[in-house]
Structures are given as structure tokens and as C-alpha cells.
């Protein structure tokens, strides 16, 4: 979620307020929790970037631990000196030791790394495997099951957003390496001059700015799986280095002569046509054959539109679980989405659904709520006409206004209230004329029915009340 909230649980109030001041100064949103009386925050543990734990009574410590444990996605813990060396039963990877008095470089480096972890987790597909019932997806699932148990290198192809990482994770999760790390690198998003140190790590002083030595992604993935996304965008010199790791299972950190052995399964992915890239001289043929041992192609969403309702349900369930509002789709909305071509595939669908959940929480999305490109042409035209009609009553309203109050009263008036009153009067008249039938009243006012319903709700006008 890349949040800036940091929770401080520390009975040493002086220290807590010092930490709060420092964190606030360096752009975080620290929250000191009241420990007397002890109460846990309303927010969920996942809503923080980090939780700092200091001096706590046994009882407070247990309560905090239970609160954190109840959320599998809880924020990492920063332990103040009295808790150094303790994990309180949490995963070692989620526990950091924070010195006090504060050492600025240590604090900022921990928070930087915690922020990266959080962004990585957020970018991680939640889905356990490619969802769908179409033949194409069933075939992909079958291939995943076939290859998972072996250490075979896999090449996942398919357009951007089809869910290549979901496939890679599914392979890792069904393999014997599932208890070891799965590390993903987007080779296309990291500048080529930085990619080598990103993948292989570097020694202190290897280049300007390398103030400490650093692990690379290969090292982080030891024993597990390394997912090299967008490998088709990798520079030729880097391709040579990857080829060598695949052949010899060794590499060197940048700035070091010592070779390191590695036990990492490689899954690569690209949206590019690698054979074409070879032809253009942009991709090494020998690397292609090393990677293409077991190719899996993810189908485009437009080729499996029957899966759309299932995917939408899955995405909305996930959003609800993460505390976003419940979002439902009217049948005609789903129908409209089925006639769209989906160049961005499942990722585009997920972004759309999530966006609608933010804009229309706990309501039903109808076709008009969709961004224009998702609406069928006929709906777009009708909507333009309606919008033009929506303006019409306002025009008449202003004519009327100028008739009966040509001159502004000397004491002035509250324009907003005045307009609202005129609007309410006209709505009442329209409803009376329509015998209380909202859709007819909406026609009289050249409004969409939903717009009128909203206005009725806004002004708290009940149909009965209008009729009486």
C-alpha cells in the first residue's frame, strides 16, 4: 500500500515522542499508541508501514502480538534495544533491530527496505493460479502441474498483463522449492547499468555510491525460484551473464573476483516475440534455447472472454478482503465489458475493477459508470444526448430565476440554498405531475432516472411525502 503510517508501541514515553518527532520530520506519519490505559489501534496491522516495539508489559506484549498475528499481512516489526534478539514468534524476515539513540543511516535504510518489501508485496498477484474455465486456461494449469516438480527452466510468454507472474508463482508454489523464496525482477524496468548489481549484488566500493556491500536477487532467491520478467528487454551484455549462470550455476558480485555457486530455478517471461528479437540481433539465440526448455503461453483476455465474470468475482472478492468497498456489476455492464478488446488484459481488468471500487464503493456499477472506452458505441451516443438534455432544465431554471428576481435583494442571498430550493420545488412538481412515478418525473426534468433518485436521496424527499 506504500503507506507512511508508523505505529509506536513504547511505554518509554520520552523515547516514543522523540521517535515520533524524528519520523514526522523525515516525512512519515508516526502514531504513538496510548499505553495507559492500553488499547490497540482501530486500524489493521497491514495498514502500517512498520510497527515499532519498545518497553511493554508482558500483558501488553501478548496483546500486541495477538493483534499482529491475526493479520497475515501485518507490517514488519522494528524492535527497540530491550527486544533486540527477540522475534516474539514472528518470521525473522519481518523483524528488524532498531538502535536507540537513533542512528539516522540505520533508520532510513530499514525504512527504505521495508518500503520496498511493501511495494513488492503489493505488486504480487494474490491469485493462487490462473483463474478461468476456458480450455486455454485449463491447458495452462495442466502444464504448470506437469513442470512444477522438476527444476526445468520455464519460459512464459504472452501479452502484457496476461498474468505471466501468476504462472511463475503457481509453478513455484507447487514445486519442492515452495518453502524457499520466490524473487521477481522486472528486467525491463531497471536501467541496464544497474541491472547487474541488482541481480548479482555488489561489494562495498565496487562503484561510486556503493557504500556498503549488497546482496543480489540471485542470492536472495537461493534454494528457491528467480522470476526474470521482461527478459526480452535485457541488454546483450547482461544476456551473456545470465547465459553463464544457466550453464555453470555460478556468478560474481560486481566488484568481486570470487565466484559464487547458486541453486536457483529460473523462470523467465516476456511479452516480446523472442524469435523476432533474435532475427533483429537484439536477443541471443543460445540464451533463447536455454530458456525455451518448457514454454508456456498465457492466452490474451480477449481470447477467453467467457472467463470474465469469474475473474471479476475473484478480483472483487480480493478487494473486499483488503477493506475496499464491495463492488458489484450490473449484467449489462458485464455484457459491455465482454465486447471490449482488452489490450491490457487481466491487469487492465483488475485496475478497472479496483478503480470502480474506489469511486463507487458498495454500489452496483452500471454501464454509464465505466470509462468511455469500455462503453458500447450505442450507450456512448445515448449518454451524450442525455447529458445535453441534463443541461436543458438548468437553462430554463435560470430564465425563470431572472424573471422573478431580476434584482438581487439588497441584503443578498445564499445562492446555493436558493438554487437548491428551486430544484426541490421543480422536482416536487414533476413528481406530482407524474403521479409519483420516478422514471416519468425524470423524463419531465430531462434527467436520468438514477440522477433523479440521487437528488431525491440528497434532499431527503420521499415519494409518499411528495404525493401527500
Amino acid at each position: 500500500m506504500s503507506t507512511s503510517r508508523i505505529l509506536l508501541l513504547d511505554a518509554d514515553t520520552e523515547r516514543a515522542s522523540q521517535l515520533q518527532a524524528v519520523l514526522g520530520f523525515i516525512d512519515y506519519s508516526p502514531e504513538v499508541q496510548d499505553l495507559d490505559p492500553f488499547e490497540l489501534p482501530q486500524a489493521k496491522p497491514r495498514e502500517y508501514l512498520a510497527v515499532v516495539l519498545g518497553r511493554l508489559s508482558a500483558e501488553q506484549r501478548d496483546a500486541s502480538r495477538r493483534w499482529l498475528k491475526a493479520d497475515p499481512q501485518h507490517a514488519p516489526l522494528l524492535m527497540l534495544p530491550e527486544l533486540h534478539g527477540e522475534t516474539l514468534g514472528f518470521d525473522q524476515a519481518d523483524v528488524w533491530s532498531l538502535d536507540y539513540p537513533i542512528r539516522a543511516p540505520q533508520l532510513t535504510e530499514i525504512l527504505r527496505r521495508v518500503s520496498v518489501q511493501q511495494l513488492d508485496a503489493q505488486a504480487t498477484p494474490q491469485a493462487s493460479g490462473p483463474t478461468g474455465n476456458t480450455l486455454a486456461i485449463r491447458r495452462v494449469r495442466k502444464m504448470i502441474a506437469q513442470v512444477a516438480a522438476f527444476d526445468t527452466t520455464v519460459l512464459v510468454t504472452g501479452e502484457s498483463g496476461t498474468g505471466k507472474e501468476v504462472v511463475a508463482r503457481a509453478i513455484h508454489e507447487s514445486s519442492g522449492r515452495r518453502d524457499k523464496p520466490f524473487v521477481a525482477v522486472n528486467c525491463g524496468a531497471i536501467p541496464s547499468e544497474l541491472l547487474e548489481s541488482e541481480l548479482f549484488g555488489h561489494e562495498k566500493g565496487a562503484f561510486t555510491g556503493a557504500i556498503t556491500s549488497r546482496q543480489g536477487r540471485f542470492e536472495m532467491a537461493e534454494g528457491g525460484t528467480l522470476f526474470l520478467d521482461e527478459i526480452g528487454d535485457m541488454s546483450l551484455p547482461m544476456q551473456v551473464k545470465i547465459l553463464r549462470v544457466l550453464q555453470e550455476r555460478t556468478y560474481e558480485r560486481v566488484g568481486s573476483n570470487t565466484s559464487r555457486q547458486c541453486d536457483v530455478r529460473i523462470i523467465a517471461a516476456t511479452h516480446r516475440n523472442l524469435e523476432l528479437r533474435i532475427h533483429e540481433g537484439a536477443f541471443r539465440e543460445d540464451l533463447f534455447y536455454r530458456l525455451n526448455v518448457f514454454p508456456i503461453e498465457m492466452p490474451a483476455l480477449r481470447d477467453r472472454l467467457e472467463d470474465l465474470p469469474l475473474l471479476i468475482t475473484e478480483i472483487s472478492d480480493e478487494l473486499r478482503e483488503f477493506g475496499r468497498g464491495d463492488v458489484r456489476f450490473a449484467p449489462e455492464t458485464i455484457h459491455a465489458l465482454r465486447s471490449y478488446v482488452w489490450p491490457g488484459n487481466v491487469r487492465e481488468l483488475a485496475n478497472l475493477v479496483e478503480r470502480l471500487a474506489v469511486l463507487h464503493p458498495n454500489s452496483t456499477v452500471d454501464v454509464h459508470d465505466l470509462p468511455e472506452r469500455y462503453r458500447p458505441k450505442s450507450v456512448r451516443l445515448a449518454q451524450q444526448q442525455e447529458e445535453a438534455a441534463d443541461l436543458a432544465p438548468n437553462l430554463r431554471l435560470s430564465d425563470e430565476l431572472s424573471e422573478f428576481s431580476e434584482r438581487l435583494p439588497d441584503e443578498g442571498l445564499d445562492l446555493k440554498t436558493h438554487m437548491a430550493e428551486i430544484e426541490q420545488t421543480l422536482i416536487r412538481q414533476a413528481l406530482e405531475q407524474a403521479g409519483g412515478v420516478v422514471s416519468q418525473a425524470a423524463q419531465l426534468l430531462r434527467l436520468r432516472r438514477t440522477t433523479l433518485v440521487e437528488k431525491l436521496r440528497k434532499y431527503d424527499l420521499q415519494r409518499q411525502q411528495v404525493q401527500s
Partner: protein, 133 residues
Amino acid sequence: MDKIRTVVVDDHVDFRRLAQVLLEEVDGVELLGLGADGEEAIHLCERLRPDLLIMDLSMPRMGGIQATRLIKAQDDPPLIAIVSIYDDSEHRAHAASAGADAFINKADFLGSVANLIDAIRRGDHVDISNSAA
């Protein structure tokens, strides 16, 4: 050229004030709105349709990276510049893959925003891989 219609989103009120003062001084920029988190950014961009959104990376409720993904799903999305106190390859990569157009190191906010606005006004192609830092 028309003014660059801009929205600024940051959870710290002092920073929003600073940005407001700064941007009101810049010729060719019209400040349309200010927001405090990613969800507000989504609502503001849907309603105001700005040309440029300058947004903090870490904010409560919803951070800038996630909001970028969702704002880029709207019709005619704005250019998005992510502002961050962390400036490293990982944070830049996340901003890029979410669809951000520029990355600004908060420590050099003034200079970077000025460069970015100059680039937009010159009609340069704004791309995160060569954005000012």
C-alpha cells in the same frame, strides 16, 4: 500554450502548502486541487481531469504507486510524477511499472518540478527513465 492544470497530493499539510506556494509562483501552471492520499487523488483526477498530477509515494490509506495504476485507467489520464524520499532502483522500478511518467526525489523537489514543467511546456516527451532526480 494553455496553462498546465495541476493537482498535488501529499499526506503532509506542510508539504502541500509548500507545493502550493511554489506552484502559484510558476508561470504557466494552474493549481486545480490538493489531496491527502491516493483515494483522494483518484477522485480529484476523475472530477478535475488535470494535465499533471504530482503525488507522494507513501501516504496512509492508499499510496502513490497504487493510485497511479488506478488513475492511469481513467479516460485521458494526467501525466503523473511520483515524489519520494527514497530514490533507488527498486522504488523507481515500481513507479515505472505502475505507469508513472516521472520520478522526483523529494530532497530536490523545487528543482525537479521546475525541470519537469519546463519539459512539459517545451512539448518534450516525458519519460520516467530520464526524469529529473
